[in-house]
């Protein structure tokens, strides 16, 4: 087995009697770019929520770098190196773009001295300039002071990705990062993620845009109705009969094939 | 015997608290909105009625005028707090907006009454101050008894209405899930004012009964009663009508007993202490969980 950074071992989750995730196991290899795909309602976002600690799991184990994080509260998991973005944008609407990005640094700045450091009073400080640089790298240099509620959708979407990258994660989980982006924005996003990948960050991506998945990811895990139905290189996924069947009748067939 | 006498007066004032508590619990349960204008509606009913008698209106008509004013005032509140917010922001329960507006209306109504009717405590010319009957050594005021029965009957009627009628079902569907209710064809613009009409009627009738029975009225008479009613609502569980009835009566009894045994100054501690304890330990109230109040507002 290759060196896996994140290991999902026979994990199950029920919501009021409904089995949303059913004994799913998969490994995310260190430095890989893994995609988690599947039809709507397959349980992809739930898997993200279980990894990041939004809900406790009912059964199974989650290991990060060999450490069992199953019982760890959510705010400790980001310290361990897990960071994520959200399917529906969940930026802090009343904070500016750069403040949202600085929130992403929080896991690295939890000492009292860092907490009482006046970020807003010392413009060029280490944290602020790091955040500004990160925004600039993502092509968002013009927006740092804007309150995010006033920014366009595509911009907010990318700020979320930048925020998630700020904690220096081992595993960066992105929930439909390309949804709603135009072609140019998707291209910029891909460059951003490839940059992170080159720095050694493992990517775990939920995405519907198969074009994007194929050009970014090397490994694919397919879920359907809470069960894993395929795991393997992204070059083979469109040849798998089970996957084709799961997608049959939905528009994704054309994409997958 | 004296204790029994206290119990009876506790139940009598408790009947008033019940009606106001129901008004509170209804708006919280239906709209997730803590409506602070309710004390003003209660007061408007009494003070407007008194004002009408001073210009020669018959006391019965004056009381009806008071209730009508309270109901109308409640609709004004709906127009400027709830409806506006919902139309403009999609969801009136976001932020503390309706709460703050209702505090604004409380201040407006109370001080308008001060401006127009003066700040002196007044006495309503109630026709039956001494209509009591004696049961052994117990003295029972007939109008108070009638009020208690009337209060309970009205609340009972209200709960029947919520359960059985089409309007009642529409109201409850909005309380449970506004979006689904809208999809199913319930018109929010038509249903929500009904909540406010009921609120106005409940608070107004409670104010009327209070005025008839206790006669001593002033511009701030609603505040004290509302505080007790809120305590009653919490005891019964937010959004729970039957809980509000029990809670209102419990508060009435607690108040009278505490005054009897420990004096008037101490009464705040047991009532608010009980309320705080319930909020912290059992926020759904004493009688299970019909409680709403989800998330921020």
């Amino acid at each position: 087995m290759t060196d896996s950074v994140l290991s999902f071992q026979a994990v199950s989750k029920n919501f009021s009697g409904l089995r949303v995730v059913d004994e799913v196991s998969f490994d995310v290899a260190r430095g890989s770019r893994t995609a988690l795909i599947g039809p709507n309602g397959a349980g992809k976002t739930t898997v993200f929520n279980l990894i990041s600690g939004v809900y406790p799991i009912d059964d199974g184990k989650i290991l990060l770098d060999g450490v069992d994080i199953t019982r760890l509260p959510d705010r400790e998991r980001i310290n361990m190196g897990i960071s994520r973005s959200f399917q529906n944008i969940r930026l802090m609407p009343h904070l500016s773009a750069i403040e949202n990005v600085m929130l992403g640094q929080h896991a690295r700045a939890r000492k009292l001295g860092s907490l009482l450091f006046p970020l807003g009073w010392l413009p060029g400080n280490r944290w602020a300039s790091e955040a500004a640089d990160a925004l600039a790298q993502a092509g968002l240099a013009t927006y740092p002071g804007e309150v995010v509620a006033n920014l366009p959708y595509g911009v907010q979407k990318r700020i979320e990705v930048v925020r998630a990258m700020m904690s220096d994660p081992k595993v960066l989980m992105l929930d439909e990062p390309a949804a709603g982006l135009n072609e140019k924005e998707t291209g910029e996003l891909q460059l951003l993620l490839e940059g992170a990948s080159r720095r050694g960050v493992t990517l775990l991506v939920v995405e519907h845009d198969m074009q994007f998945v194929r050009s970014l990811c090397d490994h694919v895990v397919v879920l359907n109705f809470g069960k894993k139905i395929f795991e393997g290189p992204s070059s083979e996924v469109h040849r798998d009969p089970g996957v084709l069947e799961a997608y049959l009748g939905s528009e994704a067939v054309g994409d997958a094939a | 015997m004296l204790i029994l006498q206290q119990l009876i007066s506790g139940l009598m004032i408790g009947g008033i608290y019940v009606m106001v508590a129901v008004a509170f619990t209804l708006t919280i349960g239906m709209l997730n909105f803590l409506n602070f204008t309710i004390p003003a509606l209660f007061m408007l009913s009494g003070m407007v009625a008194w004002g009408l008698t001073t210009v020669g209106v018959h006391w019965a008509l004056a009381l009806l005028g008071g209730v009508a004013t309270a109901t109308f005032a409640s609709l004004i509140v709906e127009r400027f707090t709830y409806r506006y917010m919902r139309v403009r922001y999609g969801d009136a329960t976001e932020h503390a907006l309706p709460l703050v507006s209702s505090l604004g209306f409380l201040i407006i109504f109370e001080h308008l009454v001060l401006v127009i009717l003066g700040s002196d405590p007044q006495r309503f010319p109630t026709p039956f101050t001494s209509a009591d009957f004696h049961l052994g050594k117990l003295i029972i005021g007939i109008p108070q008894l009638v009020s208690l029965v009337l209060a309970l009957a009205i609340v009972w009627g209200l709960s029947i209405m919520l359960k059985r009628t089409r309007v009642g079902r529409a109201l409850r569907s909005i309380a449970e899930n506004p979006d689904a209710a809208t999809l199913m064809g319930v018109s929010v613009n038509y249903i929500v004012p009904i909540v406010f009409v009921i609120t106005g009627l409940m608070a107004g009738i409670a104010g009327m009964l209070f005025t008839l029975n206790y006669a001593d009225i002033n511009a701030y008479m609603g505040d004290n009663v509302a505080a007790k009613a809120i305590a009653g609502m919490v005891i019964g569980g937010l959004g729970n009508i039957w809980g509000a009835i029990a809670g209102g009566l419990i508060v009435g009894l607690t108040e009278v007993m505490a005054i009897h045994f420990f004096g008037a100054d101490i009464v705040k501690i047991p009532i608010w202490g009980l309320l705080l304890l319930i909020l912290l330990v059992r926020p759904s109230g004493l009688f299970g969980h019909t409680a709403i109040g989800k998330g921020k507002f």
């Binding site: 994520r84 929080h106 860092s114 804007e146 | 507006s101 705040k268 912290l280 998330g295």
Partner: protein, 286 residues
């Protein structure tokens, strides 16, 4: 400055300080309708230390602040289990209980009130007020302030990014208590007399309104709200009752026209933008 205006400014200072005590929890998403309870504790504590113990004011005020903060810290744990309407009611209940206790305490004169020995001139009150303002403005500029605002906007996501949401809320509530204690001490030493009747729900309500009308998004909101509503009556040449009616009308209209408060983030950004646009983009371009 005439005696009349000195009195107004003293009241203004008190209102500003108490507004900030409500603002801190509000910035972290907690509505506190119990300011009067904390102010009462601060007022009685400083009054007692001044009259019965004979301490000087430079000791009574900080001790009152710490004592009130300690009470706030202790009750914050049960209090913060509640949210929304429940928290409004719980804080209100707390203030009423405090009132109910003090009105029965004979050592503090019960309902008759309690005299306070030391008198604080404006030259003591005003600097304290300015320090409180600066402290809150500073706090909101720190990473702790950032986490408070993050908790206000989305508690779940704040937690996912490593913010200890519970401790953030406890700290905001406790610091609010400390500042309320300072407000109470200001009151005690300014009026030399503490009557529990003053620390009623009306005070809690008005202070909460200053904060919500001023705006909770920036640390300048409570200042603007308190100044606006304290000074407005002075410029309205009508009777006291009409002033309150106008106050109520302004509140209702404000909620209709500008529900996020007078001072919003966007407004402050635009304001900065007028002067420092070049400096700001310079940061971004680096």
């Amino acid at each position: 400055m005439s005696g009349y205006w000195t009195g107004i400014v003293a009241i203004l200072c008190f209102n500003i300080v108490v507004a900030y005590s409500v603002f801190l929890p509000a910035a972290a998403g907690q509505l506190n309708l119990g300011a009067a309870g904390f102010v009462a504790i601060g007022a009685y504590t400083s009054g007692y230390l001044s009259t019965d113990v004979g301490l000087a004011m430079w000791l009574t005020i900080p001790i009152a602040a710490l004592a009130t903060g300690a009470v706030a810290f202790l009750i914050s744990f049960p209090m913060l289990r509640t949210r929304g309407v429940y928290m409004v009611l719980a804080t209100l209940a707390f203030a009423e209980i405090v009132q109910g206790i003090y009105i029965n305490l004979e050592i503090f004169g019960a309902a008759a009130g309690y005299p306070v020995a030391a008198f604080a001139e404006l030259d003591i009150i005003a600097p304290i007020t300015i320090l409180v303002i600066l402290f809150v403005v500073f706090l909101m500029a720190t990473r702790f302030g950032l986490s408070m605002r993050a908790v206000h906007d989305d508690e779940r996501v704040a937690s996912l990014f490593g913010v200890n949401t519970r401790m953030t809320k406890v700290a905001a509530f406790t610091l609010g208590g400390v500042i309320a204690g300072i407000g109470g001490a200001i009151w005690a030493h300014q009026f030399n007399y503490v009557e529990i009747q003053h620390f009623n729900i009306l005070l809690s309500t008005f202070v909460l309104l200053y904060v919500l009308i001023g705006g909770t998004q920036t640390p300048y909101g409570p200042l603007v709200g308190a100044v606006f509503f304290t000074l407005l009556p002075e410029f309205l040449r009508v009777s006291n009752e009409w002033r309150f009616v106008i106050f109520g009308v302004i509140i209702v209209l404000m909620m209709v026209v500008r529900p996020e408060g007078l001072v919003t983030r966007t407004l402050v950004e635009r304001f900065y933008g007028l002067f420092w646009r070049r400096g700001r983009t310079a940061v971004a371009d680096r």
